[in-house]
């Protein structure tokens, strides 16, 4: 996998992970182009498309699009399930995850992804093992801070969409 992008229906980038070295300028260009392309597609269309010399695999969960760029010989269907497993991991960790969780705890989203995928390849596909690694890390925390609760309505516009569970649609 060359990169993974998470973006909202409004086209806001929520997470970006690049597994190939690219300049910031190039990354921004790719993101802009792809977000536009994927958002323009209709709901029933197929989840794969050719883009430059890569294959794009994407899937929408509630308000969020998960979008991966893979190479010619990579497997599209298993990539779709990579996305799904990642959503499952987020869901399990946050407890019915919604877009807001990923906005406010973006660093956690990155940590979970690193446990699951490394260098663009599946590192650990067992849900239990990935979560165990993250929970262990959480146990190491100093635990002095507030736990943040996210209340829809106080945190900004569009909250209703962003707070809907990714698995609900």
């Amino acid at each position: 996998m060359q990169f993974m992008l998470l973006f909202s229906r409004q086209g806001k980038l929520r997470l970006q992970k690049w597994y190939v070295p690219l300049s910031d300028k190039e990354k921004k260009k790719i993101t802009r182009e792809l977000v536009q392309t994927v958002l323009a597609r209709k709901p029933k269309m197929c989840s794969f498309l050719e883009w430059r010399d890569l294959k794009i695999v994407y899937k929408r969960y509630a308000s969020l699009y998960f979008c991966c760029a893979i190479e010619d010989q990579d497997n599209e269907l298993i990539t779709l399930e990579i996305i799904h497993r990642y959503v499952e991991l987020l869901d399990k960790y946050f407890g019915s995850v919604c877009e807001l969780d990923i906005i406010f705890n973006f660093e956690k989203a990155y940590f979970i992804l690193d446990e699951f995928l490394l260098g663009g390849e599946a590192q650990e596909t067992s849900k239990k093992n990935v979560l165990k690694a993250i929970e262990q890390a959480d146990l190491l925390q100093e635990n002095l801070d507030f736990q943040i609760r996210l209340f829809p309505g106080v945190l900004g516009p569009n909250v209703s969409a962003e707070s809907s569970g990714l698995f609900q649609s």
């Binding site: 197929c46 660093e107 990155y110 849900k127 801070d145």
Partner: protein, 990 residues
Amino acid sequence: MPAVSKGDGMRGLAVFISDIRNCKSKEAEIKRINKELANIRSKFKGDKALDGYSKKKYVCKLLFIFLLGHDIDFGHMEAVNLLSSNKYTEKQIGYLFISVLVNSNSELIRLINNAIKNDLSSRNPTFMCLALHCIANVGSREMAEAFAGEIPRILVAGDTMDSVKQSAALCLLRLYRTSPDLVLMGEWTSRVVHLLNDQHMGVVTAAISLITCLSQKNPEEFKTCVSLAVSRLSRIVSSASTDLQDYTYYFVPAPWLSCKLLRLLQCYPPPEDGAVKGRLVECLETILNKAQEPPKSKKVQHSNAKNAILFEAIALIIHYDSEPNLLVRACNQLGQFLQHRETNLRYLALESMCTLASSEFSHEAVKTHIETVINALKTERDVSVRQRAADLLYAMCDRSNAKQIVAEMLSYLETADYSIREEMVLKVAILAEKYAVDYSWYVDTILNLIRIAGDYVSEEVWYRVIQIVINRDDVQGYAAKTVFEALQAPACHENMVKVGGYILGEFGNLIAGDPRSSPLVQFNLLHSKFHLCSVPTRALLLSAYIKFINLFPETKPTIQEVLRCDSQIRNSDVELQQRAVEYLKLSSIASTDVLATVLEEMPPFPERESSILAKLKKKKGPGAVSGNELEEGKREGGELNGAGERPGDSSAIGASNASTPSPSADLLGLRSAAPVSAAPPSAGSLLVDVFSEAGPAAPAAGANDDGFLRDLEPPTESSDSLLAEGPGDSDSAPPSVVSEDPAPPLPESDELLNKFVCKNNGVLFENQLLQIGVKSEYRQNLGRMYLFYGNKTSVQFVNFTTTVSCPGELQSQLNVQLKPVDPLVEGGAQVQQVINIECLTVFSDAPLLNIKFRYGGALQNLTLKLPVAINKFFQPTEMSSHDFFQRWKQLSQPQQEAQKIFKANHAMDTEVLKAKLLGLGTALLEKVDPNPDNFVCAGVIQTKAQQVGCLLRLEPNAQAQPGEQMYRLTLRSSKDTVAKRLCELLAEQF
């Protein structure tokens, strides 16, 4: 669980994120961010030492700001400080910041690497994993230099925790991709391969990605992985869905690992060991069987995981291409998917069938689905699926169904999405040509193509139809008639006017007998389009008009009047004006004989492979058009234009073979530098010039005196004396460090080399990304070569380095020096490199040119042979018949002579043969051989150590039937290796 941020909530961060989200405008957001940046900056600069928590919080805010798309130019130091915190979350945020915002500041890199080193040796698995993740995320060369030696040790150590092994494997993979030269597996190889047997499925899952990548590069060293992979796969495939516990995904056992195993096996040919192969075939059969079983779950995840394995298995079956039974079963399975309700499956089935269509075992089975595929082309709602259907129709097309498929594609074109029209047009054009049995069908198809999708018909397509019509006299009358009819449409596409102008200008006489298409009617029809056309088309029409004057003298007054009118002869476009003036003058002063000679019918075009194929390949990206297909295109294209079918004028076609067809050569041969103009000067290739926009003409095409053909050399090719500066004075070091493992020479590099035996300039190499042009000049034993590297993409190439090596004894025979080349090649740009060559003594092999660069993330590494052969150092020697035969006799010892008898690859044309022999560098001696059909040449090879005299005799049996024509080539030289080498080189040329 409630929506709670677990772990270490940072209240300040959450408040800041909320603030940003509440901003009503972009300006407000920027204002808020600037305020925060100022705040953080003052905190970092403040006198008060920040505690770890605050530092973490601010670094995290900076990260958030960066991820919003703003630039961050500070905070790196604070992030590096966090790395050495003993609090896990602080360390973690520090690593995250570094991973996302790595900066090539060398001082920082040193500090970062130190922190990583500490964590790697901490023996705390969580810290080790964090450090490994950071290396894998950054993957820079500096990190590879620091850690590529250490990580394999961690990976295979007996006491390493499983989770650390997993991270180490993929970390190493990332470093290998970035800096393959720094990752040396050597002694670890076998222990890494044996990770496939690890008890922990996660370790296998991670390690196999590394092994696959290493196997692709070093298949021999890793080949023991095949049997291990087969037995692992077999265990998974035969396990019950609950056996693998958490590695079972929606009732599918270990789908990711299964896919990776099947992918690894695709790096190798079928296993040789019968037992292993049997076990593998069993696995593949089981996977195919499972596809027929009722699903264990209705969830799409279940079917996706199951089918992911199935498609990967089919990919392996296609890769092996040796099990007819499995291939046909795969095809049937895909056939079922073609009608599946899941769009994704239909898409993948169409895609996968495309590759099946090229296997001889399954081609027929694929063809049975033609109706379904045509239906998909018509009814699929998603353009990307329709695109796949079009690809498949193209792949399954053969002689038996070509008419149906071409007709369907043509009718689809009328409503096709704009995004795929151009590609569809190319495909139709290729199929029509490849499978044309009667050429009237071909002409109809292409004219229809122009009618339906004229805007998408690229130059290559209409050049091609003209080329074929010119070369096939049985279709010329039909083409003239059809194009005449097509031009009568009130609105016809400019491309139609171009084809019409050209064809009527050449063959209008074939339909002039019919009063409905009398010369004047033809002329008026063409001229009625004139004013609506662009300058290049008008220029072409003017050439057609002068051809008319020759074909039909009765049109002369009318046409002269047109040429004479102010809008022509005083046209503000200098090209049009010049043509009008020159043609008018030509028609007024030249006698009919002269006119007839100058404006003679175009000679047949060179027999060459369709450039449309190359264009399609370029459009589609790698893998879309298989090499196979190109090969086939070449073969079939040859048939269409084949010299063999036209014994009557084979000489003219043969003349064109002077330029060896290259896949990238443009249609009319103007782009690649041919040693001699295809047409003899008298053939009046006035019309060739209309194509001159297509590219620079061959420098040697100067045989044609037409004013339009002058000065077409590409601007990059400086005509300054190439040897003004001797090769010895290059004071600069070679442009790059000799890297450890240049790729082996491309398989086609010998063939590429052969192109340059008799010529010095042209395109040496071309692929999707890169084009390499070469121009060279030799004097005495010195040579200078200019290489032009053109970046064909829109993305820059970085770390562009080239090296030349002289393997083996060549090192002492040839002195090759490279001038440095710019390491950065911008998209679309061309850089030039000078190579100085000194021939020390006679040599046989060619030096190797290795080119490395990064495109996107991927390292490109290719090796070609530099087109330097011993004949480049020839000095021609003129001598009398007497002298020639005297010397010939003197060189009569067996080892001084080399002889080869071989079949003619190209038609025997005296002018072409002469041009090639001159291109070889020798003097062509006229009236020396008593048989006027034979050619004899003489020359002296200049090396620093010695001079080697060579004599050559080439005897064609020109009277034989085409197909049975042979040559006998004899070389004699004072040094035996030279005669042999020259004989090898030359035998490929005729």
